[in-house]
């Protein structure tokens, strides 16, 4: 069974996901970070595929991408590292990145290699739903990779229903109309999140963008099954000499 399916079956509340750019801050830090995230109680992980032109990201994740690329991270190396990580880590791992590196790798080869390396799903913000359904879905399904759709405060109810129907995992609720890490907190998002909660979607929901601390995490979890922290965590490990310790300190500050 897909690890994401198992997770959402057994846990309904306060699911914590952490995003980290692969190959950041040092090329070989990813394994230590991911192992520590599991040990500290994160429920699933989003591993960022670094890209030269990350359109949907704010400065923190952009910079982490630039550093990771300068460190020599590639999609191929990322999948090799993931294969090693999977020997010790059992929680779900999603790959998050932009469509162009995936296209160059080759869709079929990517789906096969990612699945074999132990990825459970993908989030590709610039792969629109229609394109995914028409051209990529059958390949991803064949390799049991879940594709995660995004919903924003501007998404119409009709489209949310359409996304829910076509989703085979959780839906990523973008907390505000923004790039990642643009704002602090999700105070302005509560009406929108409550509106979505009342729609009783069949898919689980996880809130992301602008979740940065225990307070915003808990607020998001009132309306959804969980929340994702990205920029704030990337910042927390960016100047660290001991990424495992920094990871532990950060996750503890959210959960305890």
């Amino acid at each position: 069974m897909n690890r994401l399916d198992s997770l959402f079956q057994k846990k309904k509340n306060n699911i914590l996901s952490i995003f980290i750019t692969a190959g950041f801050p040092k090329l070989n830090d990813t394994a230590s970070i991911v192992k520590q995230l599991q040990a500290s109680g994160a429920d699933f992980i989003e591993l960022g595929i670094p890209f030269s032109d990350p359109l949907a990201d704010g400065p923190v994740i952009q910079d982490s991408s630039t550093v990771a690329l300068a460190n020599g991270m590639t999609l191929k190396l990322l999948l090799q590292q993931l294969r090693e990580i999977r020997k010790e880590v059992n929680i779900p791992i999603l790959l998050m990145g932009y469509i162009n590196p995936v296209l160059q790798y080759g869709i079929e080869k990517f789906a096969k290699d990612a699945s074999e390396a132990g990825a459970d799903g993908i989030i590709i913000p610039d792969l629109p739903m229609q394109q995914y359904l028409e051209e990529y879905k059958s390949t991803f399904d064949q390799y049991n990779l879940k594709n995660i759709f995004l919903v924003t405060p501007q998404t119409t109810e009709e489209r949310i229903r359409y996304i829910d129907t076509n989703s085979n995992s959780f839906i990523y609720l973008v907390s505000s109309s923004s790039t990642t890490g643009k704002k602090t907190g999700i105070d302005g998002a509560e009406d929108y999140l409550s509106r979505i909660q009342k729609m009783n979607l069949k898919s689980a929901t996880v809130v992301g963008f602008n979740i940065s601390n225990r307070d915003s995490f808990q607020k998001a979890c009132k309306y959804a099954n969980g929340a994702i922290i990205g920029s704030a965590f990337v910042k927390a490990v960016s100047n660290s000499n001991d990424v495992a310790q920094s990871t532990k300190t950060f996750v503890d500050s959210i959960l305890n």
Partner: protein
């Protein structure tokens, strides 16, 4: 006047593609903005109100029609009948204003109050700042930090016109990065803001929208040639291609007339076989840039490569999807000109015809030296802009040549 989508094999289809190229590879955050535009642009462009205002402003404000000038000395030198389409004589000094006039009217019709734009050479930024002043709209222009230095006069012009110029500090700090920043701004301001893209790039419907607004160039070439030579098409149309808006406009009404050779000149920089180049079709592969599936310069790992050209307006690692389609289908002839060849062609036009061309347009002129024409071939070179903004670069080159 306004054709439906999918009317020819070289126009965009209902799904937003030119052949296999185009589409809208946008994050969900941009879906409502792009959808609103897609649902409304043809209706608005086709409305009598829009056409009246658009045509009126092109005539009285921009100064259209732009002349089609028979370049006698240039013709003698290259042994062909060479005409220059004088987009350099437009208000603001380039073809860019044709698009910004159209898009600001569209933005008004959509109820938008804030305009954002990206710019490379600054020509599109100036053309956007100009129409924003005209229509009393807030204007924010993103420009690569490197371009802000090399195109300083245009930065000053934008500021005079009341625009805010925001430096793009990421990546190569040029046009590609300015476009990223403009797209990020749009993600952060989805309701009140219209993004005036300056070229035939970006998500559908932008490439089609911009091509239609620029198509006034070939519309005029048709009747101007009819008047001058009694035939409404040339044998060859030559235009430079960065993203490709002036080329799209100059080719538009000849796309289906296969008697017309369409020549697109890319910027080779220091040479197509060096790593300092912007010759996309020569060096690029298929992929997605700025939400469009097209041809771009990238690494094996799918990272977008920093281009190089002496001309800031051609310093872009992709081309519009319409051009990728013209290249792939072999309807277009794609060639390139180096920095040196282009500067020389620019100087040559000064000496032969008394016209200082923009460095971008100088790339199109550089093709004349490479081409083999028959004496009675009618060749139209789209002179997309004037060279005032490039004086510093020309002078630097001129001084070096004398040493």
């Amino acid at each position: 006047m306004i054709e439906k989508v999918g009317h020819s094999e070289f126009s965009v289809n209902e799904k937003g593609f030119y052949g296999q190229f185009g589409g809208a590879f946008i994050p969900e955050m941009l879906y409502p903005n792009v959808k609103e535009l897609e649902d409304n642009y043809l209706r608005i462009l086709n409305s009598e109100k829009f056409q009246t205002e658009f045509r009126g402003l092109l005539k009285d404000y921009v100064g259209r029609p732009s002349p089609l000038y028979f370049a006698k000395r240039l013709s003698e030198k290259y042994g062909a009948q060479i005409y220059l389409k004088r987009e350099d004589l437009n208000h603001t000094g380039a073809h860019k204003v044709n698009n910004t006039i159209g898009q600001i009217l569209l933005a008004k019709e959509l109820g938008k109050t804030r305009i954002i734009a990206e710019t490379g050479a600054g020509q599109h930024g100036v053309a956007t700042a100009t129409v924003c002043a005209l229509m009393n709209m807030e204007c924010v222009v993103y420009m690569g930090a490197v371009d802000i230095v090399r195109q300083e006069p245009n930065v000053k012009r934008m500021l005079m016109l009341g625009a805010k110029v925001v430096p793009a500090e990421s990546g190569s700090k040029t046009l590609k990065d300015a476009t990223n920043e403009a797209i990020r701004d749009w993600i952060n301001n989805p309701v009140d803001t219209h993004y005036i893209i300056g070229s035939v790039v970006g998500p559908h419907p932008y490439p089609d929208l911009v091509a239609r607004l620029q198509s006034v160039i070939s519309e005029e070439i048709k009747w101007q040639l009819q008047e001058k030579i009694g035939r409404d098409y040339p044998d060859v149309v030559v235009a430079c291609v960065g993203g490709g808006s002036n080329a799209a406009g100059a080719f538009y009404h000849f796309l289906d007339n296969k008697k017309v050779q369409l020549v697109a000149v890319e910027a080779a920089g220091l040479g197509v076989n060096t790593d300092k180049t912007a010759a996309t079709t020569a060096r690029g592969t298929e992929g997605v840039i700025h939400a469009s599936r097209t041809i771009l310069m990238q690494t094996e790992d799918g990272q977008i490569v920093e281009p190089h050209s002496i001309s800031a307006g051609l310093d872009y690692p992709g081309i519009g999807p319409i051009h990728a389609h013209l290249f792939k289908s072999e309807r277009g002839t794609f060639v390139s000109a180096t920095d040196d060849e282009s500067v020389e062609a620019g100087f040559e036009l000064c000496r032969l015809e008394g016209i200082i061309p923009a460095l971008e347009s100088a790339h199109a002129l550089a093709y004349l030296k490479k081409a083999k024409f028959k004496k009675d071939d009618v060749v139209v070179v789209n002179l997309s802009g004037r060279g005032d903004k490039d004086l510093a670069t020309y002078i630097k080159y001129f001084d070096q040549e004398k040493k």
